[in-house]
Symmetry: C2
Subunit: 505 residues, 2 copies
């Protein structure tokens, strides 16, 4: 007696999951360990495994099994039915893009990425433009095919890959609400902060000490080093999943916090991966719910927990012990001010949480225009600079701090940028419910106890895996639909708060 179609599918997807794990390790190694001259060989390995993964996922046999399993779901649990839906989703996404287009995109983005690195170093967009133009053409084709297959508008189909169930209409509504309140809020916050003294944290902070501090905080938070690692790389990232999750950060000798906070951001991602439902760990329904949810977890930990007075209260004795920090500049309120400084800057990855959405709005508008053809690639740099000036009040002096600052478009990741702001909205909404459900949160964090925080997140987010679309998950865990209101409330209370020093008492 052969296994049921559903059981056979579980076996197939278990295998596919192992392929994905191998790919994750190959990428991690390329960024963290690989000798510089080995990129070509690694590229061949990645291509071979990815191609095979794609072939297995789009094989006629798998489609037949899916058809049979979905035709009769009697006797399947709701998790199993959700698992089938996620299997179908993965297969539909994969099959919509023909192998030839996948291969052309892979080549074009590989070329564009290496040209982008050079162009960014020189700060000159014009040398990169032809490569980007090729990528835009191919992504446009992909979006059209994906849209047809998923019955979505082309750009929505791209967004669906990163934030399942979220549409342009959702994003537009949120960005509209934000653009109504953020500009004045930023002005008020900056004015308020300028009236407060800020003592500089000068000195050198040896990498080894920063690393020891970061490891201690990660241990306190519950990062399981038995199933994970912390390393260093040019850009912080998280790779892998439950069973083996690896994060990286980058330490800077002049800055005692950027390495730590980078690691805490990635720890937010990692804890999500580690909290996914154990029983489904090698199945599609056991995966995280896309990039918006991922970003919500990293931002909640970095921005809402670690850039808060209770966290600074916990951190202070560690700063004394690891750096020998003493003097008035290391007092709670001054450290907190450093961690929550609002500045209108040019670089997205350095942005605070208030100005961050402005960076996303700029990219969101421009990438939609690039894909629709409304904006020609050759005019991108000028459009960027104008947009940056309008939104952020500062104009890039070179393309390196303008439209060349992010890798996303070079590697074909269109539709990804909104995830950051969606993530911030989700984070604020979760944070509000978390605080309501766990009134002792601040006291726990101040005491270095993070079990309540991650317990809540595990119950209400992590353990749900991919069982529900983003919005349904959010309704389930917060009782409210996805919106910008919680974020605006959070931002107002945090950045217009003038009862500063009393809050930590």
């Amino acid at each position: 007696m052969s296994a049921s179609p559903y059981k056979q599918l579980e076996q197939e997807f278990k295998r596919l999951n192992a392929f994905r794990g191998a790919l994750a390790l190959l990428r991690w190694d390329a960024a963290v360990m690989m000798p510089r001259g080995s990129a070509e060989v690694r590229g061949e390995q990645l291509a071979a495994i990815e191609t095979e993964h794609h072939a297995l996922l789009t094989a006629p046999r798998l489609t037949r099994l899916l058809d049979r399993a979905q035709a009769n779901t009697q006797g399947l649990s709701d998790w199993q039915v959700a698992n089938l839906q996620e299997m179908r989703r993965q297969r539909d996404h994969a099959i919509a893009t023909p192998v030839t287009l996948v291969a052309r995109l892979a080549k074009a983005t590989a070329r564009a990425e290496s040209r982008w690195i050079e162009a960014r170093a020189q700060g000159r967009f014009d040398t990169f433009a032809p490569c980007l133009e090729e990528v835009v053409h191919l992504v446009r084709d992909k979006a059209a095919l994906l849209g047809q297959a998923l019955n979505l508008a082309p750009y929505d189909a791209l967004v669906d890959e990163f934030s399942p169930g979220v549409t342009t209409a959702d994003i537009d509504a949120i960005l509209k609400a934000l653009s109504r309140r953020l500009p004045s809020l930023i002005r008020e916050a900056i004015a308020g902060q300028e009236s407060q003294p800020l003592l500089p944290l000068s000195g050198k902070f040896p990498m080894g000490k920063q690393r020891a501090l970061t490891l201690e905080v990660m241990k306190a938070v519950g990062f399981p080093f038995n199933n994970g690692r912390l390393d260093e790389s040019e850009h912080p990232f998280t790779e892998g999943g439950p069973g083996d999750v690896r994060i990286t950060t980058r330490f800077s000798a002049d800055d005692p916090f950027s390495g730590l906070l980078g690691a805490m951001h990635e720890t937010g991602h990692a804890m999500y991966g580690l909290g996914l439902p154990q029983d489904w760990r090698d199945q599609p329904v056991g995966r995280d719910r896309g990039m918006a949810m991922q970003e919500s977890q990293s931002m909640l930990v970095e921005m809402m927990i670690c850039r808060s007075r209770p966290f600074v209260q916990y951190l202070q004795p560690l700063l004394v012990r690891h750096f020998g920090a003493s003097g008035p500049e290391w007092e709670l309120e001054n450290v907190y001010r450093h961690l929550t400084r609002v500045r209108r800057g040019l670089i997205r990855v350095d942005a605070d949480e208030l100005t961050y959405p402005l960076h996303i709005m700029l990219r969101y508008e421009l990438e939609k225009q690039l894909l629709s053809g409304e904006l020609a690639v050759r005019d991108l740099a000028e459009a960027w600079n104008t947009g940056a000036e309008q939104r952020l009040g500062v104009r890039p002096s070179s393309d390196g701090e303008g439209c060349l600052q992010d890798i996303h478009w070079a590697v074909g990741s269109f539709g990804y940028f909104p995830s950051y702001t969606l993530g911030a909205m989700i984070a604020a909404q979760l944070h509000e419910s978390l605080r309501a459900g766990l009134p002792e949160l601040d006291a726990q964090v101040a005491g270095g106890d993070f079990a309540g925080l991650f317990g809540w997140l595990r119950t209400n987010v992590h353990s749900l895996g991919s069982k529900l679309p983003v919005q349904d998950l959010l309704k389930e865990s917060t009782g409210k639909p996805l919106a910008a209101t919680a974020f605006i409330r959070y931002a107002e209370s945090k950045y217009l708060d003038n009862t500063a020093s009393s809050a930590a008492a």
Copy 2:
């Protein structure tokens, strides 16, 4: 017009090679970087990629292409014809073992390996015996099937996997020649060494300094760090191939040489991998010629080059610079005596080059008896201890330093042990030809110039890849068939040499 069968095969094997590269990285990471708790997940990844590799290699389409390509080799170069033969060899080896047996072996060896680790720690063979029995049964089945498919005796079929073209008859002839001369040679060497003073090299040698010394020597030797790495692991090993080769060693704070020499041993392997024919780097004919050739390269570098007076002459100023070494115990002759000390010991991996073959003889006899059924698994420990006493003159006091010391049998590697001694014979034979062809070798090595050495090896061994069977390759590069005579000449001249100190002048 579709590509020729040969060209299609090249494409297929290029893909298979990328799979092998990915597997190599997954294994390297497991030994060097992986968090301890991630073994299960890694096991699933390895199994998925290995299974797929096996399926692709044994697919009917590939066999049909091979039949068509080999039916008409007109117009193919001799390298291409040799490539076809190696493709066939790989396919024949893979297809002879049915997938079900491969899977059972994988499970049995995984179980045996973890039990072996525990049993070795406790020094008790009886708790490991049932697991080993299961492995022996499965390997016996595998050997029988492989023997049928390759038209070889079962044990010869296992040897063929590691040392293509070498048979039991070849091994027997070599071991017979060695057992006629080695016991007396060892006695004479030990007696001679006992009459010479040996000053102890006491002190502590910080790991960081040992690492710096090792890196400096590896750079001098020509290890290309742009395509490779040095790391640390419990047992030294080499993983990967041209394009990305990674070696490990293990430093001991009490011993200034074991970490360095472990790294040089592995560098011998790595230089072989890096010297393989560039044009064939992703094809079967571009691979190394099996484990006996591999071991010849590591032993030649470690034993014949690095444990020589000219090398010590080169090394001495480095010891002064890195360790601040001074005093009579650091003089050339005393260091050389440390590096060439002959001792009858229980542990194979610690053995000198004279007693090493005795360890292999013991294992070779026992594994043949285990496979034929002549020796029951439950009687192995006793047979081992008796054999060790007879051959080495010392009896293990626990199974941990007896039949549990090596991992090979636990992981199903029967037929592998002879490679070490075959490798030593090949190394001596190559070394003899190398010295004849490069009279300035000693002077070069003493001056820290290794270009002549590796140039010769590249021309005469590395660049031939897998074009010829082991014996033919050896005839081509040394003009002589595989035999023990060169090794015995080398051993006599090195270990019965009483003109010691003059040789370095």
